[in-house]
Structure formats: C-alpha cells, structure tokens
C-alpha cells in the first residue's frame, strides 16, 4: 500500500495525517492542479456535489449513497471547509483522492477556499487546534489558490437510463429511500430519434460504439469551450454542456473563454470576475443586482439564458446557497443549485442532494480527458462515433437540458459519527 493509500485510509477513519504528510500532499496537489485550466473539462458520467463545509460524516454518507471513489466520478463545487467540525479531514481526504485519482475527481474553488474567510469561519482555528500551529492551514491555503474556478461537463445523456420506455424523462428525483420522489417529462419537442432510451435488456452500454477504430475528428471544439465560434448550430454535442461554478456569473464574463483568461493563482480578490464567479447568486430579477453578501452580484433569468445560449450551454450547476430540499432549479431549468451538506451547521434541518449526469448513449461520453497532463491520458482523441446530426438540431435555439437524476440524502445518523449517541446511564447519578 502506498503512502497515499495509507493516508486515504487514515483520513477515511477521520484521523488527521501528520503535518509532514500534509505538506507533501499539498505540494503534489499543487503540481497537479497547476496543470489544470481555470475551467476543467469533465466527461459524463459524473456526480456533481455542492457545499460540504467540513461535515465529514455527511461526506462519508454522500459516498455511501453515491458510490465510492474511484468507482464513481465526482465533481465537488467548492466550500469544503469552515463551519463544520472536520474541515481539515474533509478537505484533506478530498485532496488525497484528487491526487490519487486525478481523472475521477474534480475539485473547484468555493468562496470559503480563501485565507480571509477561513480565518473567520473556523478552518484556521481547527488547524491551529489540531496541529498546534498554523502551518497546515498555510499549506491548504496555498492549494486553494490553485483550485480551478469552474468545470465544463461534456457528453451528458439526454435520457435517463432505467426509466419507463417511451417516456422522455428529463429529471428524476430519488430520495435515499429507494423511491422516486418525482419525475419530470421533457417538455415540447420530440427528440426521441437520437439516442433512444432503452430498457434493461438492451445492453446498449456495452455494445455501442467503442469497437469503432475510426476516431472522427471533431470539426469544432467541445461546446462551451467557445471554440466553435457559433452557437446553436454546433456540430459538437447535441446534449449541450453543463457549466459548474461555485457561485454564479459575473458581468465581466460573457463567455467561458474569458474565465480561462483569468490569473487564478491568488487569494480570492474582493471584486472582479474571479470574485464574482465564487460569490454571485441567481435571483428573480432582471439583469444584474447588488448582492447582499457584499461580494459578487445577483443575476436574473435573462442573464443566464443569454449566457447559456452564447456558450452553447444547456445548464449551469452551482452551489453556494443553502436549499432546504438539497437542490433547486431556476429560470426554466437553466440553472440549478446543488447543496450537499445535510442538516447544515448540524442544525438547519435541510436534506442534501447529489446531481448525477449519466453517460450518453451515443458514445459521446468517451472524449478522453487530459487536463494538460501528458502522462495521464492522451488528450483530444475521440474514441466514439459522433451522433448523427439531426435536422432539427440546427433549428433548436434553446438547448435541451441533460437528463438529471438528483439523489437526496439526509445527515448521517448519530451513531455513525463516532461519538456516543447519548450519555451513558451512569451520568444520571452524578
């Protein structure tokens, strides 16, 4: 077992690793993260998670519900630290997993991944308490500066696997209770022709496309990358891409490439595009508004729609705001807030959610991913055949959202938190 695997095992038991190991881990993580762009490209299938806030045992619950790393691909949208009691263990575990399985794990920066915020909301104090010095906090903050600002998910399927045949289900909400809480059918246009939803017996997942040895070079870059130059008529991915960012949009950012141009390796500034991406919130307003948070902006439905249209996006996934139901879609399903800290601050009583984007039947989910690291994967090779371009694809101006399955879960029960559920009986008599 390598040192890294041992560190992962130790952190999973909620025991911090020694300072020297943290230093080495953070060093490795920085080497890895510096190779990533400001906007990481991620291929479906992927499970998207929102704020964690140091609630380590709830993070474990998340893995229990969603599947373990590396078996399930995860994308965490920031705010790993502060407020909860185990910011250190939570962040270091995620970081270890990122270093161990870089292609299975994506971490992007939240507004709490900053020196100024962590000194106020608990992470700094926690490091000081657990190590007796602020060194570990310093190492972690250095890593924060290298975290990507956003991610683009490509190749997400438009159809949900395992749904009744003939129904084009766009959204499915599952509680952890084996029940489907609700299903939403796709509205309007019949898109049934491409990537037919298939039942269990079909075996599509194993039979389609991979054997094809003729990688068709794409005429355009992946949608959302801005490389196509035009929107709506992209030959790229009929599903459209999903942009993941912690807070939201910025008036200074009108296309995704502008994010790529930022110099992100710094403390989160008090204003400007980088600050806005981590701090903004969607709101029921027209255009832009001042944010009550004192950083970032409020943005309305029109802003989201224009941005999605211009960038060939079908959905923006973000975190940053507590939603009691775990997730909340707004503005005609063009933006969703995902929240993954159940019973936030151990008292809010909310449930948490994961967003699962499944792999595309058409075999588009196999764009190899490189993130700039030559040793990991060969970048840009497309292994599957492109989906046949449908006539109506060109006419559609609003991209259909990818099929989304939300898994709602609740806080880990007391007895799995490693502390006694209630005081022993003998205490009555003291």
């Amino acid at each position: 077992m390598s040192d890294l695997d041992r560190a992962i095992a130790q952190l999973r038991a909620c025991r911090p690793i020694p300072e020297a190991e943290v230093r080495e881990l953070c060093h490795k993580a920085r080497e890895l993260l510096i190779e990533e762009g400001n906007v990481v490209t991620v291929n479906a299938p992927v499970t998207i998670c929102g704020d964690i806030h140091g609630q380590f045992h709830d993070l474990m619950e998340l893995f229990r519900v969603g599947g373990d790393v590396p078996d399930t691909n995860y994308l965490f949208m920031g705010d790993f630290v502060d407020r909860g009691f185990y910011s250190l263990e939570s962040f270091l575990l995620l970081l270890c997993l990122k270093v161990r399985y870089p292609d299975r794990m994506t971490l992007i920066r939240g507004n709490h991944e900053s020196r100024q915020i962590t000194t106020v909301y608990g992470f700094y104090d926690e490091c000081l308490r657990k190590y007796g010095s602020a060194n570990v906090w310093r190492y972690c903050c250095d890593v924060f500066d290298y975290l990507a600002l956003g991610a683009i998910v490509l190749g997400a399927s438009n159809t949900l696997p395992g749904t009744p045949a003939g129904e084009d289900v766009e959204i499915e909400v599952c509680n952890p209770d084996q029940q489907i809480m609700s299903r939403f059918l796709r509205r309007g246009r019949g898109r049934g022709a491409e990537g037919s939803p298939s039942g269990n017996g079909n075996g599509n997942g194993v039979t389609n496309g991979v054997s094809s040895t003729s990688p068709t070079p794409a005429n355009t870059g992946p949608p959302g990358s801005g490389a196509s130059g035009s929107s709506g008529g992209s030959v790229g991915n009929p599903a459209g891409a999903v942009l993941c960012v912690h807070g939201g949009l910025s008036p200074l950012i009108d296309n995704v490439d502008k994010i790529r141009l930022l110099d992100r390796k710094q403390e989160v500034p008090h204003e400007g595009a980088m600050c806005d991406l981590l701090w903004s919130d969607p709101d029921e307003i027209d255009g832009w508004g001042l944010s009550p948070r004192g950083a970032g902006f409020l943005f309305g439905a029109d802003i989201v729609k224009v941005f999605n249209h211009r960038n060939d996006l079908s959905l923006i996934a973000r975190a940053h705001q507590l939603v009691m139901e775990g997730f909340k879609e707004m503005f005609d399903n063009s933006i969703v807030t995902v929240w993954s800290a159940p019973n936030y601050c151990y008292r809010c009583g909310n449930v948490a959610a994961l967003l699962e984007l499944s792999e595309d039947d058409a075999g588009l989910g196999v764009l190899a991913r490189s993130n700039g690291d030559v040793n990991r994967s060969t970048g840009g090779v497309v292994a599957g055949p492109r989906g046949v371009l449908m006539e109506n694809d060109l006419e559609d101006q609003v991209l259909p959202g990818p099929a989304r399955r939300y898994r709602v879960f609740t806080a880990a029960p007391q007895d799995s938190r490693g502390m006694p559920a209630k005081k022993p009986v003998a205490d009555y008599f003291l």
Binding site: G66, G67, P70, D177, N200, G363
Partner: protein
C-alpha cells in the same frame, strides 16, 4: 540529591539529576513527565535512597497541580518493588494518605485505588500497624474529603486483620454510614456492597443489616439508589432460608420498589433479575411478581425501559402459570407504550420469552405482539424484533413464523430508510438458512436481487455480500441458476453505477463458485464489460480480474474454494485454471494495459502482476465501503 555514589558512574546519574530537577520544574508538562518516569529515578537511586530521600520528597509535594497529583497517585500504586519489596511497602502509605485527603476527587480516587493495591501486598502485621490506623485517621478526619477516601479502604484490609480489629473496622464504618454529610454516606453506600462480601452471614445479619436499613431510609435519593447493590450483596450472603426471618430486608426492598424517586425505582428495575436470583422463591412469588408488574406500568419511561430489559431473565424465574396469569397482560400492553425507547427495549427482549412460554403460548401471546411491533412506526423496534427471530423460530417452527411474519419482513426490506434495508440485508442469510431454498426462492429471492439495483450504493454493495453468504448457504448449484444470470443481467444496465454492481458481485462471489461457472458465465460477461465506454467500469473489470486470478490459481476442477476450505480437505489447483488465465483473462488484461485512462492502466497492471507473480492465497473479497 543527584551526587554520584561510589557504586554508580556519575555519567549515568546525570539524566537522573535532570529528571529530579524536572520534578521541581515550573512547567507542569515537564513535572508531569518526570512523575511518569518516577520509576526510572527510583531504580537509579536504589531502594534505600528511594525510601529515605525520594518518598519524603514526594510526601511534601502535594501542593501541585491536580494533573500531576493524579499521575503521582497512580505511580505510587505500583511502587512497592522500588522501595525494597513488600516488607518496606508501608513507607508509601504516608504520601498516599496525604493525596487521599486532597480536595480533587480524581486525585483521591486514584490514591485510594493505589492504597488498596498496596494493601494486598502488605503482611497482616504491617496492615495492623500502619494501614488500619491510616484508615481510622481518614475516617475520623474533620473534613469530608478524607472521610470519603476512608470509605473506600475498608474491604481490602478486613480479611487480613484479627477479629478485634475487624469489629473496630465495622464500628468505624457504621460511623461513616451515619455521617451527616451526604457525600460520605453516598461513598459508604457505594463501598458497602463490597465490604459485606468480606463477612460471614451472622455478622452481616447482626451489624450490616441495621446499617443498610439506615441508608434505605436516607432522605437523599442519591443515597437510597445506591442501597440496591447492598441489598443484593446482603441477600447473596445470607442463606435464602434465613432471609425470611429478617423482615427488615423485605420491608426495605418493598420501600425501595415503591420509592417516590424514579431514580431509585430505575435502579431496582435495572437490577431486578439479580435481586430475584438473590432472594428465595417465596419472596419472588409473593413480592417481586407484583412489583415487576408495577414497574412495567411505572409512570417514568426510563424505569419501564429498564424493566423491559429484565423481562426474559425474570420470567424464567417464575412459574408458567404466574407468568401467564399475572405478568403477560402487562407485557402485552407495553407493545403500545407511548415511548419508543420502551418499545425498542421490549423488542430486543421479547423473543427471549418464546423458549420460556413454549409453542402454544408463543403462538397465542407472542405472535400478536410481534405482528404489532413489526408495524411499529419506529424502525429500530422492527429491527430488534427481526434480529431476534431465531429464538422464536426454534420454538414455533418455520412454517408458522413464515406465514405470520413474512409480510412484515418484506415490508421492512422495502423500508423507506436505507439503513433499515441495510440491517435487513444483514439478517437475510440467517433467514435463508432457516427458511430453506424453496421458500426463499419463492418469497425472498426477488427481494435479494432487487437490492442489486437499489439507488443507494451501500445497499448495492451489501447486496453482493449477501449473495455470497446465500451461496454459502444454498450451494453453488443454486447460485448458478438463481443468482448468476441476474447478476450478469445487471451488467447490461444503461447506468454505469449499476453495471459496476456486476463487477463487485463477481469479485465477491469468486470464492463460492466453480470453475465451470467462471468459464461459462463470468468470463464472457467480463470480456464484454472490459470494452465498456466508461473507464470506471473498465478498471473495475481489471480489479475483478485480479481477484479471479487469485481464485483460479487455487481452484480445483470440482468444488469451490469456500466448500473445500470449510470441509478442510486439501486441494490442489487444476491446470485448467491457469489455462483460463492465459487464454481468457490475459488477452483482456493486455488490452486494458494499453487503455487511454490512467486508472484503468493502473489496475490492469496490478492484475497482470497477479497473473505473473507466484501463486498467492488471494480471493479476499474487495472492500469498497467508505
């Protein structure tokens, strides 16, 4: 203190001098460390100088932080060997006596503990000469802290001294029992049960029962509740046939049962079985049965929870008729108790009644209760019932159990909370072994397969382990017909998270299937999955190959690793296993080695290593739980 003696090299003594300096250091941490290494200092000084210099020094160092004093009290308890063995052991009493008078209870407790430890090593003469006066000094001190410590020092010297001193000890203890501060009385009550055990029955009757009676009438409930243990100790010492003649015991017992403080009643309820075992049968029938019923109906949920825990233990002591006529009805009422904790406690215990009641009565009385509790809104209650079904099964047989309880099990297996489902999965192999194949296939098979497609990862994982256990129960024939096809079908699921279940299941099942099944069902499926679009599936295939290679290396032509290991028959690997590895597995692994994805390559290389390395004892199911 640290100057070199003739026999010792000054260089060696230098660290000791440092340690001794540290004993006086300003920093608490350093002092604490020095105390922890006190034995090293003593060893270096030798027994004589330890007695003459170190112990007197320690004697004066009671003016320190509590933390240091706790450490000191603890160290001194095992210090006899450093002062020259038991003949000199008494020199340690003086510092410990000082520590036993300290205000901080933690320090005193440790000091008392150490004193008792030392006492066991002292000779009778030493005890008479040094220990007993110490006990009396502490017990007669002005301040209650010393007296509290004194209370704990009576039982260990008692058997070592002559009769006269024994009687002095008893009268001194009586004074503590009658002390005016409740703290002292509480401590006396706590230690009395142990003290009683040291004496013959007649002394107990003459002197200890009056003390007990005094404590039972104490106006503090915190004292009264401690007398329950004394009652048990006395009742265990006094022979059962003589108990009846001491009406005091019974009156005390009755008054404790009816105490107005629920904490006292809780204590009684919690120790009910012990009490019932210590008193004679007549008292059980006449007094304890009504008391039991009364406690079952107590107004305080805590008391009911405690007494519910005593149900099978106590009911085994009373005769069947009394149980059925007097007790059963009240127990039945507990099923609909307003407190979920009471119902949960009842759930863990109620099955214990089945062997006591016998078949017919179990059907008449317990089954309706089970059925109602299985519908309880609180899942813990339901789980407790299910987890103890084995006992009931032994009494009424599987048919009856199945008819009445199966619907509830099925309902629980589909419970809304995934942790409840997880718990039920844990009970499945047991249920399966009791229900038999036909019944299982009919009623529960579908359920077990359904879990493979559960929305929660942990359930899917547990389901695969469940399948392995089921295969162990029902055998490989059954598995290849009932399980394998369904597991393989999961491999075609459109969602990668569910396809992965097939990989997990194969790894888990590897040790319970035969060569034939591997060759005909498993390998073709894996070959398909090895070409999956999603890298996560491909590296899980590699992981699975790794496990399979380990198994194939050891697997003979017939039988499975599990059955052969269980039977203890030696077996050797069939060449066919190696052939399968070379012809069916390695080509796939080679392909995976050239995969685009780094994780796939990593796990494929692990599998390739397993295939080329010397045969290993593998076959461990992989652990994927977070």
């Amino acid at each position: 203190m640290a100057e070199a003696s003739n026999s010792t090299n000054p260089d060696e003594l230098y660290p000791i001098a440092v340690l001794i300096d540290e004993l006086k250091h300003d920093d608490v941490l350093l002092r604490l460390n020095a105390i922890r290494r006190l034995s090293t200092i003593a060893l270096a000084l030798g027994p004589e100088r330890t007695r003459d210099e170190l112990v007197p020094f320690l004697d004066e160092s009671v003016e320190d932080e509590d933390e240091v004093l706790v450490a000191l009290s603890e160290e001194l308890g095992s210090f006899i060997e450093y002062v020259g063995g038991p003949p000199h052991g008494h020199v340690l009493l003086s510092p410990l006596e000082n520590l036993a008078a300290i205000e901080e209870p933690v320090v005193r407790d440790k000091a008392v503990e150490s004193l008792n430890k030392i006492c066991t090593e002292l000779s009778s003469q030493q005890v008479e000469e040094y220990f007993i006066p110490l006990v009396f000094r502490l017990s007669k001190a002005d301040w209650f802290t010393s007296k509290v410590s004194g209370c704990g020092l009576y039982s260990s010297p008692y058997s070592k001294v002559n009769e006269q001193t024994q009687s002095q000890l008893r009268s001194s203890f009586a004074q503590l029992v009658h002390d005016e501060t409740p703290m002292v009385r509480r401590q006396a009550a706590t230690n009395m049960a142990k003290f009683v055990k040291e004496m013959p029955a007649n002394v107990v009757v003459e002197e200890m029962i009056p003390m007990f009676q005094h404590l039972v009438q104490d106006d503090q409930d915190s004292v009264r509740l401690l007398t329950v243990e004394i009652l048990i100790a006395i009742a265990e010492t006094v022979p059962k046939e003589k108990q009846a003649s001491h009406g005091v015991l019974l009156t005390s017992l009755r008054s404790l049962i009816e105490d107005k403080s629920w904490r006292v009643r809780y204590m009684i309820a919690d120790r009910f079985e012990k009490i019932a075992k210590a008193v004679d049968d007549e008292v059980v029938a006449r007094d304890l049965v009504p008391a039991f019923v009364k406690l079952l109906k107590d107004g305080e949920a805590e008391v009911r929870t405690a007494i519910a825990g005593q149900i099978p233990g106590f009911c085994a002591l009373v005769d069947r008729n009394t149980l059925l006529n007097d007790i059963m009805e009240t127990i039945e009422n507990l099923v609909s108790d307003s407190s979920q904790h009471v119902r949960a406690a009842l759930g863990t215990q109620i099955s214990g009644l089945a062997p006591i009641l016998g078949k017919q009565e179990t059907i008449d009385h317990l089954l309706p209760m089970f059925i109602q509790m299985l519908k309880d809104e609180f899942p813990e209650v339901r789980l407790h019932i299910i987890s103890k079904l084995e006992l009931v099964n032994q009494v009424i047989g599987i048919d009856l159990l199945a008819q009445s309880l199966l619907p509830a099990i099925v309902q629980l297996a589909e419970d809304k909370q995934w942790r409840v489902r997880l718990a039920i999965i844990g009970h499945m192999p047991l249920l399966a072994s009791q229900l038999g194949v036909a019944f299982f296939d009919d009623k529960l098979g579908q359920l077990c397969m359904g879990w493979l497609g559960d929305t929660v990862f942990s359930i899917r994982e547990a389901a695969t382990h469940n399948l392995k256990k089921l295969t162990e129960v029902f055998g490989v024939e059954w598995a290849s017909e009932a399980i394998i096809p369904k597991v393989m079908a999961m491999g075609a699921h459109p969602n990668y998270l569910y396809r992965m279940t097939t990989c997990f299941a194969i790894s888990t099942l590897a040790s319970v299937v035969t060569m034939d099944v591997i060759a005909k069902s498993i390998l073709p499926m894996l070959e398909k999955l090895a070409a999956d679009d999603i890298p996560n599936i491909r590296f899980n295939v590699a992981k699975t190959y790794d496990v399979l290679i380990g198994v194939l290396r050891r697997l003979p032509e017939q039988g499975t690793i599990y059955t052969l290991e269980k039977a203890g028959t030696p077996f050797s690997a069939s060449p066919k296993g190696q052939q399968l590895i070379d012809e069916r597995i390695m080509p796939s692994v080679e392909k995976l080695l050239k995969d685009n994805d780094v994780d796939v390559r990593f796990y494929a290389s692990t599998a390739a290593q397993a295939a080329t390395a010397a045969p290993v004892s593998g076959g461990e199911p992989m652990n994927t739980s977070p």
